[in-house]
Structure formats: C-alpha cells, structure tokens
C-alpha cells in the first residue's frame, strides 16, 4: 500500500516535470543551476524548469559554493546566477565561458543592455538591475507638508519634522546591520560624494574628507532610527515599513513589491518610490545587476542546452508573469511605479557598484570596522584609518599588494 503511494507520488512528480507547455523546445540534456534565492531567481528558474531536465539550487550562500563548484571539471552546475561582485571570483579563476557564439546563435531577443562584456567578450547575461533608493510614506510627508527629499539634508530635516510630529515610531529605517549591509550603506554614501575606493595600485583611498562626510551623514541618520540599527537588515527594514513603524528608508528596489503585498503590508498604496537622495556628486546609491553565467568546464552540447534553457527563463513570458518581482532588463517589462525609484536614481547619474577583487576585501573590512564609529568608540578619521590598515593586511595576505 505504502509502496504504491510512493510510486504514485513519483509518477505524479515525473508528470509535472515533463510538462513543457511554456517552453519553446524540449530539453534532453541534464542542466543544473546555482543561484541566489530571492524572488526574481525563483521566477526565472521556475520558467527554466518548464523545459525539462533542469534542476535549480536556490541558495543564499551561493557565493561560497560557486567558485569551487565551477572549478570542478566537469563543473557541478552549468548555469550560475551572479551579480557585479560575485562574478569576480569566477572571472578571476577563468571558470566561466565567453558567450559570444551562443548569443549570436540564440540571443536575437536580448537587448544590448543585457550583455555584460569584459575585455570585449560577453561573459554574462543580465536579467535585472537593483539599487537602493528612497522609499517614503507619501501620506505622512503630505500631511506634514514636506516635499519629496532630494538630498540627505532634506531627508534629515524631514526626519526631524516627523519625529516632532510623532506619527511613526522611528522616522528613518536603514539597512545598517553590521557586515555587508552596513558597508553597502557606506559604499552608497561614498559614491554619492564622488569618492573612489582604491587607486590604480590597489591602495585604499577612503580616509578622505569625502569619507568623513559619508560617515557623518550615516551617524546623523542613526539618531532617527531604531536604536537596534546594527542588527537591521533588508528584511527587517522591509517589515518596519510594512508594519507602519518607519516613514523613510533607502531600501533595495527588489523589496518594493513587498510594500504592495496586502497579505503582509499595512501600508499598501502609501509608499512612494523616489530617487536615492543626492550626495554632492551623484545619488547616494550604487547600481547592481543580476544575471547568468555559464560554466567553462562542460561540453559544447551541454553549453548549448544550458544557454537555451537559461534564455527560456529570462524571456518576456516570464517577465509578464512576474512583472513586479524585480526591475527587469528583459523586453516585455512594464515599467510601473514600483520601478520609479531605481529609474530616477539611474537618471540622476547613479554609479554602478565598482566591483573588483580589491573592493571585495575593502567592503568586508568596512563592514567590520564601521560599527565602532557609530557606537562612538572611535572618531571618523581613526575609523577610516583603521579600516585602511586592516585592508592593507588583508590585501597583502591575498597577494593583491606587496
């Protein structure tokens, strides 16, 4: 009896994977993917699965597995999901394949904007962009007669008014969790001030007046935030918004859809997406892209199949079904109000995240070193000098500098 149930279940699951309704071709080469686990990847890999013989691993720790899995010969996954920075280790190790021939053969529907080229060779196909931009409670700001904040001075002034009015628990939210998130906040500010992170010889260049200004802005913001800001990550800020506890935050575009989800959010229709506030040079944000790469260690036949499967996952049909899951770069995307913030930031001249091996190290060191300034244990110059010193030690150990 029990055995029969198992057989039945097996047959059913086989049946469901062998429905290739929405896929243009029938894939007979086994293909596997390893990507991050957020909503957009789920949508894309679900669409890839429609071609059959496809197995997706959605893993938030993908960046730890990917370099090793792609270095294996044959590679353990054929398709990889990467972003600006996570492509670097694969590129450095030479474990991903140039895609020019495949793009020529199958990529008629890709836009030039999607093709990530390194040194003249197409190395990845981007599917979406992501950036942190201003989200604010339109109702609250309108009630208090506050204009849409354009700079951080505006944001702080608005926060002061909201605090005085006492309409929400904390005027500001921020992804200030120690580590990667906090460092990303600094990266945004520093790009906004027009700073550069390392020079041509990989020496750090953050202990500058721009760096100090960035730190001061971050600290000024914390006065209006939940005092537990050092543990607040993107999900936490998203929930603060959804529960009506905060009025403004510089949050990821990929979280915008959650504000409009009536199952979770108490502020449906009240959150407006706007450009990231301006620093003195550019919007205080960085543009990220997410996309796919193909492993180098596989046969041409596999690469062919993997590329076709991947494109099925990144087609207009998928985008139309999941329009609000991300700011898609794929044709067929209907640019709605949720994408307005990312679009406005890009229009105002937001810079791409300047991914490199050196910034990888520096980003980690900033993440570890910044909290000491915010808690008041160190002043701004000492904090930046210490981060630079730690960077030098790490970069030396990594072999990046002598």
């Amino acid at each position: 009896m029990k055995l029969k149930t198992i057989f039945l279940a097996g047959a059913l699951s086989l049946a469901s994977t062998s429905v290739w309704a929405a896929c243009a071709f029938e894939n007979d080469v086994p293909v596997k993917s390893l990507t991050a686990g957020f909503e957009a990847w789920k949508a894309a890999t679900d669409a890839m699965a429609e071609c059959g013989n496809f197995q997706a691993s959605l893993d938030q720790e993908f960046k730890e597995k990917q370099p090793e899995a792609f270095a294996a010969n044959p590679a353990l996954y054929q398709i990889g999901g990467v972003a600006n920075e996570t492509m670097i280790p694969l590129l450095n190790a030479g474990t991903i394949r140039p895609l020019d021939d495949l793009v020529e053969k199958y990529g008629q529907n890709l836009t030039p904007n999607q093709l990530i080229a390194v040194d003249g060779k197409i190395m990845a196909i981007a599917m979406m962009v992501n950036a942190q931009h201003l989200m604010y409670r339109e109702d609250i700001l309108a009630d208090l007669g506050i204009e849409e904040p354009k700079t951080y001075a505006d944001v702080l002034a608005a926060a002061e008014k909201i605090k005085a009015a006492g309409v929400v628990e904390y005027p500001l939210g921020g992804t200030f969790a120690t580590g990667w998130n906090l460092a990303q906040e600094f990266v945004n500010m520093y790009l906004g001030e027009g700073g550069n992170f390392v020079d041509d010889d990989n020496m750090p260049t953050i202990n500058t007046p721009e760096g100090v200004r960035s730190l001061e802005t971050l600290k000024a913001m914390t006065a209006y935030m939940d005092p537990e800001y050092l543990v607040s990550d993107s999900t936490y800020v998203q929930q603060q918004f959804q529960q009506g506890k905060i009025a403004m935050a510089n949050l990821w575009a990929s979280r915008a859809a959650a504000m409009e989800d009536p199952a979770e959010s108490q502020v449906v229709g009240k959150v407006k997406m706007a450009s990231a506030p301006m620093g003195s040079a550019a919007p205080a944000t960085s543009l990220w892209w997410d996309g796919i790469v193909l492993a180098k260690h596989m046969t041409d036949e596999q690469a062919d199949a993997a590329f076709r499967v991947a494109l099925e996952g990144l087609d207009s049909e998928m985008v139309q079904a999941n329009n609000d899951a991300a700011v898609w770069l794929i044709p067929g995307y209907d640019v709605g109000p949720l994408a307005a913030g990312a679009a406005a930031s890009a229009e105002n001249g937001a810079r791409p995240y300047p991914a490199s091996t050196a910034l990888g190290i520096l980003h980690s060191e900033i993440g570890n070193g910044l909290a000491a300034y915010l808690t008041g244990a160190k002043d701004a110059e000492t904090t930046l000098a210490d981060i630079e010193a730690n960077y030098l030690v790490s970069a030396k150990e990594a072999g990046l500098i002598d």
Binding site: L287, S394, E397, A398
Partner: protein
C-alpha cells in the same frame, strides 16, 4: 595482556586520533606560518555593465590573477614566519595602548576586544553554571520519586535544543518589539532596546549560555548525589549539622571531582563561544575569538579568504584554552598522585 594484544586493541583508536586530531592540528599549525596567494597582474580592461536604459562601459586598471596553460590560477606559497600571528595580535599597537593606559585604543584591536569578551563570558558563566547546576540537582534529588522522571526530562530540554536555534529563539523574543521586550517595556513603562548597546547584549548572551548548559551540570551532579555516603550524612545529622553544613562539609567535598570535571568542560566550551555571537548577531558590539577565526575564513564577495590568519587565530584560541585549564589540570594531577 601481552604487548601484541595491547597494540591490537589500542592501535585503531591511536590511528583514529592521529587521523582526526593530530593531523588536522599539525596542518593548521603549519598553515599559520605560510601564506598561499595567487599571482596578480595588472591589466586594462573594458567592462560594460547595464544601466537602467543603456549600458555604461568603462576602461579600468584591474588586478587579475595569472592563469597557467591549464587555465587554473597560479598560486604561490611563501613562508612568512610569525607574520600572521603579528597581524592577528598587533603587538606594537597593543603595547602602545597599554603603556599609555588607553583602554579604548586597546579595545579597538579586534583580537584583544574578542579576548576581553571571551574571558568575561567564560569566567562569569562558570560560577553561575556550577551554582545553578547544583541547585537543580539538589531540587531533583528532593523531588518525590514518582515525579522525578518527568522533572528530569523537562530540566534537560534547554540542553537538547541546538545552540544556534536556541540563541535565535531568544533573539526573536527580545529583538525590537519582541514578546519579552514588550512585556518588560510594559512593566517598566519605558522604551527598551536590548540590542542597541554592548552590555545588555553581553548579559543576554551569558544568560542564554547558563540556561543552555546548566542542565548538563545538573545531571552530572545529580548522578554524583546518588553516591553520597548516607552514613556520613546521618552522622552529621546526629552531630547537629545544619542543612547548609551538611552541604558544605559532606556533599560538596564528595562532588569535588565532578565539579572539576564540569568546570573543565565548561571552560573549554565557553572559551570557544560562537553560537551566541551568530545567533544574537552581536558582531557590531561584541565579538569572540572563535567568531574572529570564522570571520577570517568567510570569503568576501570577491572570493578572498584569510586562511593564514584564521589558522593563527585558531592556534591562539587553543593556547588560550590550555592556559585556562592549567590550574584545574594541576589539581586533578595532584589528586591523582595523592590517591595512589
């Protein structure tokens, strides 16, 4: 037993100990003196990334690792002596801070900051675990026979829970407007943020550890209580010894070897405090030595890890534990010799 039989019995476990304890240790020890790194070259690369509507292409000078003809990264390993230890300990900076009596500057160095917390954590939780463990054991011992089974089961529950899961649940109870924080806020009628400063976090972490391991101490002591000589207790009673005197002069001396045992296990475990830092995401305020080692090992987004410093930090942790255990080991050794 002749030596052949002895070797046949002991051999497998010696082999296992070499394989799983000695070799990894030696390997970590060696790695802490070497640095393995790729050979970089600097090239000009044009990179194109998507904007919202059109692409941005930039020519940048980038450092990329050289590849050999098989397409794998060329690595070179160099002997660096004590450099990795120096990078972890930062002795010059630490000494400068100590000689100018600047506690703030001293605590700005990761290793010493982590050591300060690790030692505080270890030394504060030890007496609490022993005290609470003994109390629970005495309570168990005085519980009616019928209830004893269920009560033991319930007391053991905290010990059964996976440490990280336990820490996370406590985290959620107290974080932001968690149930318990909201309750305390209601009672005290003021706003409370337990995750906003170091000292409240430290108390939470220590409280969690005591809650988690006291049942282990309790169950060991409870077993010990079963073998207390009842004649000695009875004669103490006849001599008019109070409850406290019986505990102090009969029960505790009897339990002493067990107390030493529990202390040793606890010192070793709590010096490696790690789950609390992760579970409470306290790294913005408080870090521990084991977390420092872990942080060196975690690759950043560009895939770099600091294996050498992680090895050095792991060796330093081991040395720290050994130093802490010396007084207890000496005591055991003395008792052992005295017993013969």
């Amino acid at each position: 037993m002749n030596s052949r039989t002895f070797a046949a019995f002991v051999g497998p476990s010696v082999f296992m100990m070499l394989l799983f304890i000695a070799f990894p240790l030696i390997s970590v020890f060696t790695q802490s003196f070497y640095v393995t790194q790729p050979v970089y070259e600097t090239v000009e690369v044009e990179t194109c990334t998507p904007g919202f509507l059109s692409q941005t292409c930039e020519i940048q000078r980038k450092s990329i690792p050289k590849l050999d003809e098989d397409g794998s990264v060329i690595q070179e390993t160099r002997f660096v002596g004590l450099d990795s230890y120096r990078n972890v300990l930062e002795p010059e900076r630490a000494w400068k801070a100590i000689s100018s009596l600047d506690w703030g500057a001293f605590q700005a160095i990761d290793f010493w900051k982590a050591l300060r917390f690790t030692l505080t954590f270890t030394l504060f939780t030890l007496p609490l675990v022993l005290g609470l463990g003994l109390t629970i054991a005495l309570v168990l011992n005085n519980t009616a026979k019928m209830l004893r089974g269920p009560v033991i089961f319930v007391t053991l529950l905290p010990f059964i829970i996976t440490p990280v899961i336990g820490a996370l649940s406590i985290n959620w109870l107290f974080r932001g407007d968690g149930i318990l924080t909201a309750l305390i806020e209601n009672l005290l009628n003021r706003d409370i943020a337990l995750f906003a400063q170091a000292w409240t976090l430290e108390i939470l972490m220590m409280g969690y550890r005591v809650w988690h391991v006291a049942p282990f101490a309790a169950i060991v002591f409870y077993a010990g209580l079963q073998t207390v000589n009842s004649d000695a207790l009875e004669s103490a009673l006849i001599d008019g010894a109070s409850r406290w005197q019986r505990l102090r002069y009969v029960v505790i001396p009897h339990l002493m070897p067990l107390i030493v045992f529990v202390s040793m296990i606890h010192l070793m475990d709590s010096y490696r405090v790690f789950e609390e830092v992760v579970g409470f995401s306290s790294q913005g305020h408080v870090i521990s030595l084991q977390w420092l080692t872990y942080d060196f090992l975690v690759p950043d987004q560009a895939g770099n890890r600091s294996i050498s410093r992680a090895s050095a930090s792991a060796m330093l942790t081991m040395i720290g534990i050994s130093l802490l255990l010396v007084p207890l080991l000496r005591r055991t050794w003395r008792d052992h010799k005295g017993g013969h």
